[in-house]
Structures are given as C-alpha cells and as structure tokens.
C-alpha cells in the first residue's frame, strides 16, 4: 500500500471572516470560509450574486478597504499568513505571487495611461529587467494572449480597444510577473458569449503553460465545471459545499448546489428541466437563525431553523453544510 503524502497547498484560506461595518449595520460578507488551492490547480468559487466571492478574492490580496475589515481567520501562502502581513509584504505578493483579473475589463485599466505603461508598471515593480527587456516581455505577453501588432498596441490607450481586447490586456498584465496564483473574478461576464469562451480557453492555456494555479470566481456553474479541478460553493458568506468538480456537479449533496446545477441552461435537456431557485438571497445584515438557505430549501425541516449546519464529510471528496444532504442519485 502506498501512503499518499499530502503536500502543503499553495494557498490555504482558513476560517476567513471579512465584515463591512456600514451605517446600516455590519455586513458579514465572508463569514467563516475555508478552502485550499494546490499548485497548478484550478479552484472554482461559485454562488449567487452577493455570496461574498469577490470579497474573498480581495481579502486574499489584502485589498479590503474601510469600512471593511478582515475580522478573523488566516490566509496562508506557502504556509505564511497574509492577514497579519504588513503592507510591504503584501505589495510583494500582489502582482508577483498572486494577481487578479477583475470582473469588468472596461473599468480595470486606467483610461489615461497607455497599455504599454500599465504593463510596464508591473515589470518595474516585480523584475529587474532593463527598459528594452521589459518592453520585449510586454510585447511577447500581448502576443501570447492573442493581440497582434503588439508593439504598436503598446502605445494605444484602453479606449482604443474593444472589451474582449481589454480583458486580454488585463490577463496579460496579470500574467506578466509570472505569479503562482491568479484570481479571476468573473473574467468573462462582461463579454459576449463567443469572446467568453475564447478568453476562458486563453486563461486555461496560460495557466497550464506557466504551471500557475487559479481561483476562478463565477456565478456560472457551466463555466466552472469545464475549467476547475475543485469547486467551492458560497452562500451568504459561508461555504455550503465543496469537493472535486465531477462529483460536485454530478452528485451534489447540498440542496443549494443542486438548485444551481438545475438552473444551468442546457440545450441537450428539455427546457422545462431548467428551473430557478425560488426566493432570493436573505439580507446578510441580519441573517436568520439556523440554516441561511432554509427559506428557499425544498428539504427544510424544523431542525434547519434551529441549528446552523456545519461542514461535514459526504460521499467521495464532498463536504457540505446541511442537516439533510442529498444522497447520490437523489434529485431534490
């Protein structure tokens, strides 16, 4: 029998709490989230709008601004905590070890700087190449994300690019310093469908080429099921289910995951299979006692209103926070 040695993950988020102290009350946007990302892995972070996905991403990079604050937990990069790290250490991490692609390519680039200058900035910060070498690196990177006439394009401003091109530029910037982890926050939602798949293909290829890991944030389970090795499902700032992509998609155990999967539009299946999860996300400023999903859950019982479920091991690699999880094969 061979004993499997569990290697230390590249990134381990442990019991992360990120809260926003607003006038209207404390928004517990992330409230005890844990997950790991191994080297070379793609981890999908999914959930409905407001689930806390972006806040998790920004927390990892230490980009939470007041009134927000990381109230607890650890974010371990190679076992070293980033939550307690100072701004100087974080600046070394940002862009060089972990970089991020934002949701909206139209607004992530500075409209007043040339594309070349915005790319060069990363290399100035994170490499000791001379100007000529930096320029060449920028050209190579632009070409590798599929932008032709790259040298010329360096002198262009963002408004001279289409949305898809801008997102390619943003991805190029994110890859420039060869980070080990890329957080892609809904990198394609703002783009039209044909461009979406191009960009996703590009990102997958880029991280495979460079052996990087990725956290792919999306509300689109279809996208993530194609790209990710593991999936973590967030609901109201909590992890409700996580595990290997195939098991989670094919035999989910949490009713919320089931609902998300059922709402994927699927041309192969009959249209009436497509159903939306009923109800809407509760106000996270005052969450109900017990399970956050109970008002929308078809399996809810008395216990669900009393005790909050915690993550427990399910079949295979799956973990879910539910008092009455689905068994494999069960539909709802």
């Amino acid at each position: 029998m061979t004993r499997q040695i569990k290697s230390k993950p590249l990134l381990a988020v442990q019991d992360l709490h990120t809260h926003f102290h607003t006038f209207a009350g404390t928004v517990k946007a992330v409230n005890g989230v844990s997950f790991e990302v191994g080297a070379g892995e793609v981890m999908g972070l999914v959930g409905e709008s407001g689930g806390g996905k972006s806040v998790v991403g920004f927390s990892i990079l230490g980009l939470i601004d007041s009134p927000g604050k990381i109230e607890g937990g650890q974010i371990l990069l190679d076992g070293q905590d980033l939550v307690s790290a100072g701004e100087n250490r974080l600046r070394q991490v940002r862009g060089r070890e972990i970089s991020m692609v934002f949701q909206d390519p139209m607004t992530s680039l500075n409209p007043l700087h040339t594309v070349g200058r915005q790319m060069d900035e990363v290399l100035c910060l994170h490499s000791d190449l001379d100007a000529a070498a930096r320029k060449q690196a920028c050209i190579d990177m632009l070409e590798s994300v599929g932008i032709s006439r790259a040298e010329e394009r360096l002198k262009a401003y963002p408004h001279q690019f289409s949305g898809g091109m801008r997102q390619r530029v943003v991805i190029a910037i994110a890859m420039l310093a060869r980070p080990r982890l890329i957080i892609a926050d809904e990198p394609t939602t703002a783009l039209d469908v044909t461009i979406q798949s191009q960009i996703l293909k590009l990102m997958r290829q880029q991280i495979a080429d460079k052996g990087a890991s990725m956290i792919l944030i999306t509300h689109d389970l279809a996208v993530v099921s194609e790209m990710a090795d593991h999936i973590t499902v967030l609901y109201c700032g909590n992890v409700v289910e996580r595990g290997k992509t195939r098991e989670l998609i094919e035999t989910p155990t949490h009713p919320y995951t089931r609902g998300l999967i059922d709402s994927i539009p699927d041309t192969a299946e009959r249209h009436d299979r497509l159903k939306q999860i009923p109800g809407s996300v509760p106000d996270i400023r005052n969450l109900p006692k017990g399970c956050n999903f109970k008002d929308r859950c078809p399996r809810a019982q008395a216990l669900c209103a009393e005790r909050e479920p915690t993550l427990t091991a399910q079949h295979g690699s799956l973990w879910a926070a539910c008092h009455f999880p689905l068994k494999p094969g069960e539909l709802a």
């Binding site: 920004f58 990079l61 980009l63 007041s66 701004e87 600046r91 070394q92 991490v93 940002r94 862009g95 060089r96 970089s99 991020m100 934002f102 909206d104 607004t107 992530s108 680039l109 500075n110 409209p111 007043l112 700087h113 900035e121 990363v122 910060l125 994170h126 401003y157 408004h159 943003v170 910037i173």
Partner: protein, 321 residues
C-alpha cells in the same frame, strides 16, 4: 488641427467683438467724460469744442465705428488723466499684477493638491477633517480681512514681512520684475498669500472631490493589485484622473485673479493694474478702462484656449475638434 485653430481663432475674435460692443455701450451710458477734460470754469462753447474734439458729438454708431477701428489698429487713445497712451499705462503695471498672481497660484497648487489628495484618499481621518474645515475658512473669509490680519501679524507685530509696496525690482526684457530680487520676494509674500487662500481652498476641495470619485474606480484597485505603492496609486493613477475639473477651475481662477486682484493690491499698495483700474474708474478715465476690459477679455479667452489644450494632454479621449 489647422481647422481647429482656425475655428478657435474665429471664436475668440467673436468673443472679443461682443466684449467690445458691451464695453462701448457701457462707456456711452455712464457719465460724460467731457467734464473730465475741461476746466471747471469752462464755457459752453469750450465744452462743445472739447466734445467735438473727443468725437462725442457724433451718433453712437459712428462713434462705435471709430472705436472699433482704433481698437483693431491697436490705438487705444491717451489716458485723460495721465496724458499717456492707455495701453502703456496698463502694460507698465501688468508685470506687478501677473507676478503676484503667479506666485499666488503656485502657492495654491503646492498646498491644495497634496492636501486635496490626502483628504480625498482618507475622507474619514481626523487630519482630513481639519483640512476641510480649514478650506471652508479659506473660502469664506474675505480677502481684505485676511490681508489686514496678515499685515498686523507679520508686518506690524513680528516685523518679518513688509506690509506694502513692491520692493526692489530688476529689469528683464524691459519689464520690471520683483521676483528677480530678494527684496521683491520679501514684499510679494503677504499679498500673494492673501490672494491665494480662496483659490487654494477651491482647488483643494475640487481635488478632494475628484480623488474620492476616482478612488471608487476599479482601475485604482487594479493598480494596487499589481503591487503599486499607495503613493503611486494616488498620484500616478488617481490624481491625473481627478485633474480635469481642477484644471478648469484653475484657469478660471487664474483669469479672475489677474483681472480682479484689485482689493489685495489696494491693501498692500501693490502697484499693479488693479489699482490703476480703481483709480481710473474714480476719474472716469475712459480709455484706460476700455483697454483694461479688453485686455481682461483677451486674457480670459487665451487662458480658456490653453485650458482646452491642457485637457487633451491629460486625457487622450478628449480631442480638439
């Protein structure tokens, strides 16, 4: 580009023409300058004679025609009071005003931009609140009062700055400039500070508002996600994006201060053109007032043009059309 320049030139000429009409009408309906040139005991015949000499006996249209022709020819007539060309009188005093205004504007920028950036980036900090309260004072305190307080403190009480006059000047390209002598600098400080406070406060508030707006933009966070320092994010990425309204106000204030530094010049006995304007108004010295107003219009038009060019230097999306 050439088309643009031509268009702008026509536009500027049009503005100046409109101003000339307004100035002419204003002059025609306020007071009778003939009494400024005839002796008190002049006879009716003498008055009529003077009127004819000044061309005041002709119809308004003819008078305006003459007025415009001489404006275009650069002949603005002699001051009734000084018996010198009005233009020369003003140009002699202009360097004093312009240099005081430039020092004031420089002071305003040097103080307003960093404080505005700070206050915009840290809207809730205590220091920001102090800055904002200070800027409110800067806007609301009247210039003459500030000037008098400064004179009392720095000139009378501590005696560190002189309270009036221009001090030594040095000749440069035929102009008398204070900024070329130490004594001149010494003299310019109090009036320049007085003049700068209002503009400083406005620019500060514009910068702050711009930075707060820009701070919410994704590209600022993206710049931080690249690992840029806070300083670079604020100044290289943020400030430039906050600058358009600041430049607009800067241009307006610059013209305003050059044109109407009158009060400050009076308080500090600064021999600039503002003081000349006041004196000329008192004495109904029409040629001087006319040149002054036309010159001010020209200054505004030119500043406006420069501001438009600066826009395009800041923002590549703005083009000269």
């Amino acid at each position: 580009m050439f088309g643009y320049l031509l268009k702008r030139l026509i536009q500027m000429t049009l503005v100046l023409w409109v101003v000339s009409v307004i100035v002419f009408l204003m002059m025609s309906f306020t007071g009778d300058p003939v009494f400024m040139v005839v002796p008190i005991d002049a006879t009716d015949a003498e008055i009529a004679q003077a009127r004819r000499l000044l061309g005041l006996d002709q119809s308004l249209l003819v008078q305006y025609g003459k007025f415009l022709t001489s404006l275009v020819q650069g002949d603005f007539g002699n001051s009734y009071v000084f018996r010198q060309p009005a233009m020369t009188l003003i140009l002699e005093r202009m360097p004093a005003t312009v240099e005081m205004v430039l020092v004031a504007m420089a002071l305003a920028i040097v103080v307003a931009i960093p404080l505005g950036v700070y206050a915009g980036a840290n809207p809730n900090s205590r220091i920001s609140r102090v800055i904002m309260a200070g800027s409110l004072l800067g806007i609301s305190l009247p210039g003459f009062w500030v000037g008098m307080v400064l004179i009392y403190l720095f000139a009378v009480h501590w005696g560190v700055f002189p309270s009036s006059g221009r001090g030594d000047t040095a000749e440069f390209l035929g102009l008398r400039i204070s900024l070329l002598t130490w004594d001149g600098w010494h003299h310019i400080m109090l009036p320049a500070i007085t003049l700068s406070l209002g503009t400083m406060a406005i620019l500060l508030r514009m910068t702050r508002a711009g930075m707060m707006e820009v701070g919410r933009q994704d590209f600022m966070k993206f710049a931080r996600a690249k690992g840029a320092t806070r300083r670079d994010v604020l100044y290289k990425h943020g400030l430039k994006n906050a600058l358009i309204p600041v430049v607009t106000i800067f241009g307006l204030q610059l013209g305003d201060l050059i044109a109407f530094a009158t009060i400050t010049e009076t308080i500090f006995s600064w021999p600039g053109m503002g003081k000349l304007l006041i004196d000329s108004i008192y004495r109904a010295d029409r040629p001087v007032i006319v040149v002054y107003l036309m010159l001010v219009a020209l200054i505004f038009v030119v500043i406006n043009f420069i501001v438009d060019i600066v826009y395009t230097l800041i923002d590549p999306r703005i083009t000269l059309k």
